[in-house]
Symmetry: C2
Subunit: 480 residues, 2 copies
């Protein structure tokens, strides 16, 4: 078996030797994704899409619990509409794909393919919102967006990707701020309790914020190669878009006022985070709550009488209990199957053979620790559910320990330079754009976020780079 | 109250006077949809999108039960790829939107926005499929597609719309045919048992079939204005696309063979069918299984002690039982609310006031018959579930009776001409394209489908138009 193992996994690069190659090997060999004939666009194969479906379901339920409803807005944005919010268009124009021809006619006005939908949604909100009675408006859409990227990697950065974008409108700035923070918290809760990824939540610098926002909040995760991944953002747009798109309402005082709006988004990129946080040299390690297959049932010596029947009976039990289970009764050796399902990151492998049936037990091997356990057949679904929860917890704890081992405090620029080679650096910072650019140029690291409860500085209280008085504690890292 | 009613519904045109205006009034006033700033593109508002979400969930479960898995393929199709299947490109080229510019660079090759994805999916299948062991491949995607349409109507025909497209590959023609029919049956079952719309299933003429298919099967429904609506199609593509995109496999006999493929799709268009089949002069009538709100709870005299509490308690009971319920405790008169929820087509309105509480009962009014019923509070969720099933059945039966009253047999061309003014005409037909074109020119009616168990002709056995020997029984109708 060990031998088989080695033969099988030799095709996956090791993380320590070549992390990017490991990532590519894993996503292709596990049938998560494939490259397509279209530059920069990926095909999400059923196994990868299965993860996305589970992300959608569980995130969507969280949105709805806060009163958000789904809607759908057009893919196309007329150029004139896109141009109305100056800062926004400046940020996105270099990335826009343009439709110039419809059927046999040349269009009189170019249509942008949405890179994000503040503009088209803003123009609709300006029609729908008349009075304070119409507020708040809380909508979300699940859709594809296009950003013309020069260099792409499946899930992490592609020209087309799938995402959700929430767009809300409120009476006051404070309510918009409250919504912005509420959705950031939904994201944090989702990342930690569904994806088993601990995140740092905080505010972006002026440079890194969303084009057109007053403030951008983010959740940042640490990957095993020491690079940060932005997993989701929530923007307080103030009245910037309301002014650009004339989203006005008659206030309680009978005055025409501009709304305050927010937007917030997460994407298929999260799948890349799941892979890079939890995966190991055998392949994927999927957190149970987004694993398309949570338990794979392997009949051992399946030609022996009663084995296949018992395996089917167990499968039916698990499915009935709401566990996502599958049976692998293909004509392959157990060793081959063990490797296959380990590579695919299935949280629990369940084996049942003639001896197990005799002993009224099954064998399980968890993907997170690869240890063999004998489990009584009685109350199997309950036992497995508890085990799945435990896998989740184990993965979260391990990811947290990994992140902590890759996070350092820096009081000098040398410490910062060294720290960003391997992970997050927490340091005091002056808050100035020029200093931020210099740090980036010298280290390759960008500002990731100021932690949520920023007390206005600490850690030495002078900027780690320029030595001026510090305004914030900032997380720095190289990032995807 | 009657007065209120009249005041309220006066803004909706009556179906008999102006059906197109009635349709427009209903979809706009019930917040199903809105026009956008983009020509031919609609915005699906939360109430309309809620119907689509329920369609997706229930159809997706049916797909998965047949072994189909979801995936996602790129929005863009390089022009050279689109051109590989000649008949297909001829059919779709006039409707394609083209991307010619990405960011600041002019593209060297134009990218089509998918009007349908046989071509891009075919190119991926040619990579993925090597041997008979890889077959069948059964995938589906939920996505947006774009067809540049000259004249558009929300839900029925828009430049961008949402749909699902299934794409499968098989070893033999017979297996592809079996899959084509299996999915047609999934569609029929869905239309009848979820949307409460009776459909006629059958095969399209050569003229009306999908560009590139060997045979197209369809489900056709009758609207209240006597026009047919194509609600979904399932295509046997033979080996046409496999040859165009080189989808080959090593057969059991060790020979390289072309696959046989199918595709099948339904779209947001179905929502238009739901509206036009079930709606009445008061507005929408939503079948319970796709109604975003199945029961609206109205507290009557809600300032009276205990009323609001009891209404909340009932709401919680219904939600816990899996009924999609909402409470309307807005500060409006009961009459206003009755009209509002009738217009929105909510299947059951539940009223609870002080007297009802005393009598341990509630009042319900079903949207399909508008009759008042007193229902004991005991076992309320069970009673309401049975009522919802009964509403479904009532709507289906009514729609079937409507369709039957609008379907006639024709043995002469005069009978056909008269019949297509008000609905379906069943007639014997020669099967020739020229004859089909002449009928269309003379009557405005197109061939809808040859019923599934076509016996090769009947009804006089000569063509209803040209008098040549008949080859099929054909349904003719004017259509959306």
């Amino acid at each position: 078996m060990a031998k088989n193992n080695e033969t099988f996994v030799q095709h996956i690069a090791s993380r320590s030797e070549d992390f990017p190659q490991w990532y590519t090997d894993v996503i292709l060999k596990t049938d998560m994704v494939d490259y397509s004939d279209v530059k920069g666009c990926m095909v999400i194969k059923p196994y990868g899409y299965g993860v996305w479906e589970l992300i959608q379901q569980q995130m969507d339920a969280r949105f709805k619990a806060t009163g958000v409803k789904n809607a759908y807005f057009p893919l196309f944005i007329p150029e004139s509409l896109l141009l109305k919010e100056a800062e926004h268009v400046e940020g996105f124009a270099p990335e826009v794909a343009w439709v110039t021809q419809g059927g046999n006619e040349k269009l009189t006005e170019r249509l942008a393919i949405r890179p994000t939908s503040e503009t088209i949604i803003g123009s609709m909100y300006s029609r729908w919102i008349q009075s304070y009675r119409d507020l708040p408006v809380l909508m979300n859409q699940w859709c594809n967006v296009v950003r013309w990227e020069k260099s792409t990697r499946p899930f992490l950065r592609t020209s087309e990707f799938l995402w959700q974008e929430g767009h809300t409108a409120h009476e006051t700035f404070d309510e918009a701020q409250e919504e912005t923070m509420r959705m950031l918290e939904v994201y944090r809760d989702f990342a930690e309790n569904v994806l088993a990824i601990p995140v740092i939540t905080g505010r972006k610098s002026e440079k890194e914020k969303f084009a057109g926002a007053v403030a951008t909040y983010t959740m940042e995760a640490m990957m095993q190669d020491g690079k940060a991944l932005q997993m989701g953002t929530s923007h307080n747009l103030g009245d910037n878009f309301a002014r650009g798109y004339e989203i006005q309402y008659l206030s309680r005082a009978g005055k025409l006022e501009y709304c305050f709006t927010t937007s917030w988004g997460t994407s298929t990129r999260m799948t890349g985070g799941v892979i890079m946080v939890h995966g190991d040299d055998r392949g994927l390690v999927l957190p149970p709550r987004v694993a398309p297959i949570q338990v794979v049932v392997l009949p051992i010596a399946m030609h022996k009488e009663g084995v296949l029947d018992k395996a089917k009976e167990i499968l039916a039990q698990l499915l009935a209990a709401g566990i996502r289970a599958e049976m692998d009764d293909r004509d392959q050796s157990p060793g081959w199957k063990f490797n296959e399902w380990e590579m695919k990151g299935v949280p629990i492998r369940l084996e049942v053979g003639p001896k197990d049936i005799e002993n009224k037990q099954v064998v399980i091997v968890r993907r997170d620790d690869l240890k063999k356990q004998f489990i009584p057949m009685e109350n199997l679904p309950e036992t497995l559910k508890a085990q799945l929860d435990d896998v989740h917890k184990g993965l979260f704890d391990k990811a947290l320990a990994m992140r902590e081992s890759k996070t350092v405090d820096a009081r000098t620029f040398e410490e910062l330079k060294a720290g960003v080679q391997t992970g997050f650096v927490r340091a005091a910072w002056c808050g100035e754009r020029e200093c931020e650019d210099e740090i980036k140029a010298a280290t390759g690291a960008s500002t990731r976020c100021m932690p949520l409860h920023d007390t206005g500085a600490a850690l030495g209280d002078v900027c780690v780079h320029c030595g001026k008085p510090a305004k914030h504690v900032m997380y720095f890292a190289k990032a995807y």
